[in-house]
C-alpha cells in the first residue's frame, strides 16, 4: 500500500516542485518575497513530514535496501535510476529534510536581497542532498554529489560575507578537484563490473591492485568533503563567509557526505585497500583532532572556531569508520548525525548574535547572559553537547568511537581522547568569553532577547540532541544490522589476510 508509492522519489523531487511554485510567485517585491519564503518553508516542512514515512515504514531488522525503486535510465548500459535506503542512508535523509526547513527559518530576516533566488538555491540544494543519500547507483550518486556544488557555490558567493568570492571559489574548485579523480575511478569500476549499481558493485570483488588505486581516487574526493587534515583548508573559509543557513547545511549535511561515502563505498567495495590504508587514515585523523583543536583555541572569530572544531569532530568519524568494528562504525555514524544537529545549532547560535551585532569577533561580545538569558541556556546545551557531555548525543558518538578505537589500539584511543580534553577547553573558553562576564559594551547591552522564531529553531534541535543523548537506541537499532554486515565484510578480508601471512 504505502510501499507502492515511490516515497524516495517524492522526497527527492518535492523541493523542485517548490521551485516551480516560486517561479510562479509574482506581485510586488515585498509580497512576492514573502510568498517565496512561505512556499519554501511549507514545501521543505512537508518534505520532512513525508520523509517521516521512511522512518515509520522502515524495518530495522531487515537486511538490504528498503523502499527500493529502479527504472531504466540509460538503457542497455547498466546505469539505472535506482533509489533505496538502508540503515546508513535513512538517518541522513531525515537529517537533511529536518535541517532544511530550520535553515530556511534561520535566514528569514537575515537574507535581505534576492530572496527568491536564495530560496530556489536552497530547495535545489535539498533535492541534491536527499538524492545523494538515496541513490543506489554510483552514476546517480555522482550527479547529486557534484550537483550540490552548484547551489552551495551560489549561496556562499551571493549571500556570503566580505571574502565570499574567495571562499566560494576555493570551496568549489577544491571539492571539484577531489571529485573528478573519483569520477575516473567510477569509470574504471563501471568498465570492470559493467554496471554502476551500488549493491552489485558491493558484491563485485575488485582485485587488490585495482582496489588500491580506486581507494585513492575515492579517498581524494571524500577526504576533501569530510574534510580530513590536510585537505581541510577550504572549510574555515567557506564557513566563515557563508550565510548562517549555508553554514548550517554545510556543517550539518555536506561534511557528512564524505563519511557517508567512506562507509557506503570504500569499506564494502575496497576492503583490502581499506585495511591497508587504515593506519594512514588514523594518523591523519589524530593530527586533525589535535592540530585543529589547537588551531581552534587560537581563533578570535566564533564561526572559524566552530569550523575548526568540526574538522576535529570529523576526525573522530574517520577513526571510527576505519576501526572496522561495529562500535567504531556505529560511533562514527552516530557522531555524524549528532554533529549534524550540534554544529548546525552552534552555527545558528553564532548567527543569532551576528544578526544583532554584525560581528563574529569573540572580543566584541561578553556578558551576553545578562541580556539574553534564554540564548545563554541554549548556547550552553549546544556547547556542552559539542564537548561530549554525558546526556547529550555528542557523548554517545564519541564514547562509541573511543571504544572502537581502543579495540584496535590503545594508543589510538589515547590520542583521540586528548581531542576530547582540548575540545572541552576551546568550547568552554569560547562560552566564557562570549556569554559570561558583565555586559559592558553598549552594543551588547542593547541586544534584544531571542525571538520566538529563533527559539522555534533551537527547541527542536535541543530536543533531538538531548533525546539521542539519553536514549540512543532508536538510532542504533537502525544502524546496527547494516553496520555488522559492513564490519563482517572487512573482518573476513582481515582473516584472509592474516591466514595468508
Amino acid at each position: 500500500m504505502l510501499s507502492s508509492w515511490p516515497i524516495l522519489s517524492i522526497i527527492t523531487f518535492l523541493p523542485l516542485l517548490g521551485v516551480l511554485f516560486i517561479l510562479l510567485a509574482s506581485g510586488d517585491n515585498k509580497s512576492s518575497e514573502h510568498n517565496c519564503k512561505m512556499v519554501t518553508i511549507w514545501v521543505s516542512s512537508f518534505t520532512f513530514v513525508v520523509s517521516l514515512l521512511l522512518y515509520f515504514g522502515f524495518d530495522p531488522a531487515a537486511v538490504g535496501y528498503q523502499f527500493e525503486e529502479q527504472f531504466d535510465w540509460i538503457e542497455g548500459s547498466g546505469i539505472t535510476y535506482h533509489l533505496g535506503v538502508d540503515g546508513i542512508s535513512m538517518p541522513f535523509i531525515l537529517l537533511s529534510t529536518f535541517l532544511t526547513p530550520l535553515s530556511v527559518l534561520a535566514s528569514w530576516h537575515s537574507i535581505k536581497q534576492r530572496v527568491r533566488e536564495f530560496m530556489i538555491a536552497f530547495l535545489v540544494l535539498e533535492t541534491m542532498m536527499v538524492g545523494m543519500f538515496a541513490s543506489l547507483d554510483l552514476m546517480m550518486f555522482y550527479l547529486f554529489f557534484e550537483g550540490v556544488l552548484i547551489p552551495m557555490f551560489l549561496i556562499i558567493g551571493i549571500w556570503g560575507g566580505p571574502r565570499r568570492v574567495y571562499a566560494a571559489f576555493k570551496f568549489f574548485l577544491y571539492t571539484l578537484l577531489g571529485s573528478v579523480l573519483m569520477l575516473i575511478c567510477i569509470m574504471i569500476m563501471y568498465l570492470q563490473a559493467g554496471t554502476t549499481d551500488i549493491p552489485a558493485l558491493s558484491n563485485f570483488s575488485f582485485s587488490s591492485e585495482y582496489q588500491f588505486w580506486l581507494f585513492i581516487g575515492f579517498f581524494a574526493s571524500f577526504a576533501v568533503k569530510v574534510p580530513m587534515w590536510p585537505f581541510h583548508t577550504w572549510l574555515p573559509d567557506a564557513h566563515v563567509e557563508a550565510p548562517t543557513a549555508g553554514s548550517m547545511i554545510l556543517a550539518g549535511i555536506l561534511l557528512k557526505m564524505g563519511g557517508y561515502g567512506f562507509i557506503r563505498f570504500s569499506l564494502p567495495m575496497f576492503p583490502d585497500a581499506s585495511l591497508y590504508f587504515a593506519p594512514f587514515i588514523f594518523v591523519l585523523s589524530i593530527v586533525a583532532i589535535i592540530y585543529t583543536s589547537l588551531v581552534a583555541l587560537a581563533q578570535t572569530d566564533m564561526k572559524k572556531l566552530i569550523a575548526y572544531s568540526s574538522v576535529a569532530h570529523m576526525g573522530f568519524v574517520t577513526i571510527g569508520i576505519f576501526t572496522f568494528n561495529e562500535q567504531g562504525i556505529a560511533g562514527a555514524m552516530f557522531q555524524m548525525i549528532s554533529h549534524g544537529l550540534i554544529s548546525a545549532a552552534l552555527f545558528f547560535c553564532v548567527g543569532v548574535v551576528y544578526d544583532r551585532l554584525h560581528t563574529r569577533e569573540i572580543n566584541d561580545y561578553g556578558g551576553v547572559a545578562d541580556v539574553m538569558p534564554n540564548y545563554a541556556i541554549f548556547f550552553m546545551i549546544m556547547m556542552l553537547a559539542s564537548v561530549g557531555l554525558p546526556g547529550t548525543s555528542g557523548f554517545i558518538g564519541e564514547i562509541l568511537v573511543l571504544v572502537g578505537a581502543y579495540k584496535t589500539s590503545s594508543s589510538l584511543a589515547f590520542f583521540a581522547a586528548t581531542g576530547l580534553v582540548l575540545g572541552a577547553t576551546y568550547m568552554l573558553w569560547l562560552y566564557r568569553r562570549v556569554v559570561f562576564g558583565r555586559a559592558e559594551k553598549g552594543e551588547v547591552i542593547r541586544m534584544p532577547a531571542l525571538t520566538n522564531r529563533e527559539i522555534g529553531i533551537l527547541v527542536p534541535l535541543t530536543i533531538f540532541i538531548l533525546w539521542f543523548g539519553v536514549y540512543p537506541a532508536p538510532l542504533l537499532d537502525i544502524l546496527n544490522p547494516v553496520i555488522s554486515t559492513i564490519s563482517d565484510t572487512v573482518s573476513q578480508t582481515q582473516l584472509v589476510v592474516s591466514s595468508l601471512q
Partner: protein, 485 residues
C-alpha cells in the same frame, strides 16, 4: 552510373543547399540592402537549412558510397550533417535584422550557405580529392565572412590572419594527401584503407597521415594549431563568431573521425600518439589560456580549444565507443554554444555590441533570465553534473579509459577543474558583483527561443542521454571495429 535516383536521393540536402545558395546569389544581386530585403534573404536562407534538414530524414539509412566512390553516406555521417544544419540554422536565425554589425550585405547569407554546403561535402568525403574540395568550399567563404565588416580594422585583421594560417593548413593537408597518394597510388578511402590493411604502412604514409591530421587539427582549432582562434573570434563580427564557434567544428571533427577511424583504422597506434598529443595540448592551452582573458569572445575561443581537446580524447580512444562519445560531445556542444552566443549577441549598450567580461557584472540583477542561461551553460561547459556537459565528458573519457588511456583522462579531468575557474568567474561577475553599467534590454524573440531551447536541452539532457547513447553506439558501428572494443 553517375546520376541515378539513388545518388540524387543520397545527396538531397546538398542539392537543396546548392540550389538555395544560387537563388540567394540572384536575390543578392537584385535586392538593395534595406531592412525588408534583408529579411527576405534571411528567410530564404533559413528555409534552405530547414528544407535540407528535412531532407536528412529522406536519406537512405544503410551505408553506401556514391558518385564513383567520391562520397559516402551512412547513419553516423547523416547525424552529423543534421547537427551542422541545426547549428547553421541557429547561427543564421539568431542574428536580428536590426543589428548591423557590418554584416548587412546580403552576400553574407550566400557565403554561409556555401560554407555549410562545403561542410556537408566534407562530412561525406570518401576520397582525398573530395575531402579537399569540401574543405576548401567550407574555408573560402569563412575567410571572407571573417573579414566582412570592412569598416572594422579588427575584422579585416581577423580575416587576413585566418586566411593566411588557413592557407598554410590547407597546404599541410595537401602535402599529407600527396604523400599518401604518392606512396599508395590511390585517392579513394576504401582503396587506401585496404591497401594499408594488406601492405602495412610505410613511413611515407605515416608522415602523410601526420600532415593530414595537422591540417584538420587547424580546422577544429586544436592546439598547437589554435593561434588563429582567439584573434578571429575577437575580431570577427559577433554573429560570425557565433557561426565559427558552433558549426565548422562539427564538420571538421567528423572528417577527422572519418579519416582516423575509417581511412587509417589499421594503423591506429601510429596516429593515436599524434591525437593524444594534440588532445593534451588543447586541453592544457584551452584551460590556461582562458584564465587571463578579459574579452568574452576571446575566452570563448579558448573554451572551444579546450572543448576540442576533450572531444579529441574520444578520438584518441580509437574505438567505436570513442566515436560515439564524440557524437554525444558535439550534440551537447552545439546547444551550449548556440545558447551562449545567443546571449553574447544580445549584450549591447546603446545598440552597440559589447563583449568585455566586465560588461557582464551584475547581469543577474538587470537581466535575470540571460544570467540564468549563462550560469547553466558555464556550469555545463565546466562539466558539472547533472548538466549536459558532464555526460559529454563522461562518454569521451569513458572511451579513453576503456582504451587504456587513463593518464589522458586524468589530465582531462584536471584541466577541466582548471577550466572551471574561468567559467566560474563569469558566474561571479554576473551574480556576485554589482552592476557597473546597465546593458540594453532589447531581446529579439529568436534569441530568446534559442536560449530557452538550449537551456532546456542542457538541463534536461539527463532524460535524453539514454536514447542518445543507444543511437550513438548504434551508428558508431559504421566505423570498422577495433580490437579495443
Amino acid at each position: 552510373m553517375l546520376f541515378t535516383q539513388m545518388t540524387f536521393q543520397a545527396a538531397l540536402p546538398e542539392y537543396i543547399l546548392a540550389v538555395i545558395a544560387l537563388i540567394l546569389v540572384l536575390m543578392a544581386a537584385f535586392f538593395d540592402d534595406k531592412n525588408s530585403s534583408r529579411r527576405y534573404v534571411k528567410l530564404t536562407a533559413l528555409s534552405g537549412y530547414g528544407l535540407a534538414f528535412l531532407a536528412i530524414f529522406a536519406l537512405p539509412s544503410e551505408s553506401q558510397s556514391i558518385y564513383l566512390g567520391l562520397f559516402k553516406v551512412n547513419s553516423f555521417l547523416v547525424y552529423m550533417k543534421g547537427l551542422v544544419l541545426i547549428g547553421a540554422f541557429f547561427a543564421c536565425w539568431m542574428v536580428s535584422d536590426n543589428w548591423l554589425d557590418g554584416i548587412e550585405k546580403p552576400e553574407y547569407q550566400v557565403l554561409i550557405m556555401l560554407a555549410t554546403l562545403g561542410m556537408l561535402l566534407m562530412i561525406s568525403a570518401n576520397d582525398l580529392i573530395s575531402l579537399y574540395m569540401g574543405l576548401e568550399l567550407q574555408s573560402l567563404p569563412l575567410y571572407v565572412i571573417a573579414a566582412i565588416n570592412t569598416r572594422s580594422l579588427k575584422s579585416s585583421e581577423a580575416g587576413l590572419k585566418y586566411f593566411l594560417l588557413g592557407a598554410l593548413s590547407s597546404g599541410m593537408l595537401l602535402y599529407g594527401s600527396s604523400l599518401i597518394y604518392g606512396f599508395t597510388g590511390l585517392t579513394n578511402f576504401d582503396q587506401i584503407s585496404s591497401f594499408i590493411e594488406q601492405n602495412g604502412a610505410t613511413p611515407g604514409i605515416i608522415v602523410g597521415v601526420v600532415f593530414l591530421i595537422s591540417g584538420l587539427a587547424f580546422k577544429i582549432s586544436a592546439a598547437p594549431f589554435h593561434m588563429w582562434t582567439p584573434d578571429v573570434y575577437e575580431g570577427a563580427p559577433t554573429p560570425v563568431t557565433a557561426l565559427f564557434a558552433i558549426v565548422p567544428k562539427i564538420a571538421a571533427i567528423t572528417l577527422l573521425l572519418n579519416v582516423t577511424h575509417f581511412l587509417f583504422a589499421d594503423i591506429r597506434f601510429e596516429w593515436m600518439q599524434v591525437i593524444i598529443a594534440i588532445s593534451v595540448a588543447s586541453m592544457v592551452i584551452g584551460a590556461f589560456g582562458a584564465i587571463m582573458q578579459k574579452d568574452l569572445k576571446r575566452m570563448m575561443a579558448y573554451s572551444s580549444i579546450a572543448h576540442m581537446g576533450y572531444a579529441l580524447a574520444g578520438i584518441a580512444a580509437g574505438s567505436q565507443q570513442g566515436a560515439a562519445g564524440v557524437l554525444i560531445y558535439m550534440t551537447t556542444y552545439i546547444f551550449m554554444g548556440a545558447g551562449t552566443f545567443s546571449i553574447i549577441l544580445m549584450l549591447r549598450r546603446d545598440g552597440l555590441p559589447v563583449h568585455k567580461l566586465s560588461d557582464l557584472s551584475g547581469l543577474a540583477s538587470t537581466h535575470p533570465f540571460w544570467a540564468f542561461g549563462l550560469l547553466i551553460f558555464m556550469f555545463s561547459m565546466a562539466g558539472i553534473p547533472p548538466l549536459a556537459g558532464f555526460f559529454a565528458k563522461w562518454y569521451v573519457f569513458l572511451a579513453a579509459v576503456n582504451a587504456g588511456l587513463i593518464p589522458l583522462a586524468i589530465i582531462g579531468v584536471i584541466t577541466s577543474v582548471i577550466g572551471a575557474f574561468y567559467y566560474l568567474r563569469i558566474i561571479k561577475l554576473m551574480y556576485f558583483d554589482d552592476v557597473d553599467q546597465t546593458l540594453d534590454n532589447n531581446a529579439p524573440k529568436e534569441n530568446i527561443i534559442i536560449l530557452s531551447l538550449s537551456i532546456t536541452v542542457t538541463v534536461l539532457f539527463l532524460l535524453f542521454i539514454g536514447p542518445l547513447r543507444e543511437w550513438s553506439y548504434f551508428v558508431a558501428k559504421n566505423f570498422p571495429a577495433s580490437g579495443l572494443l
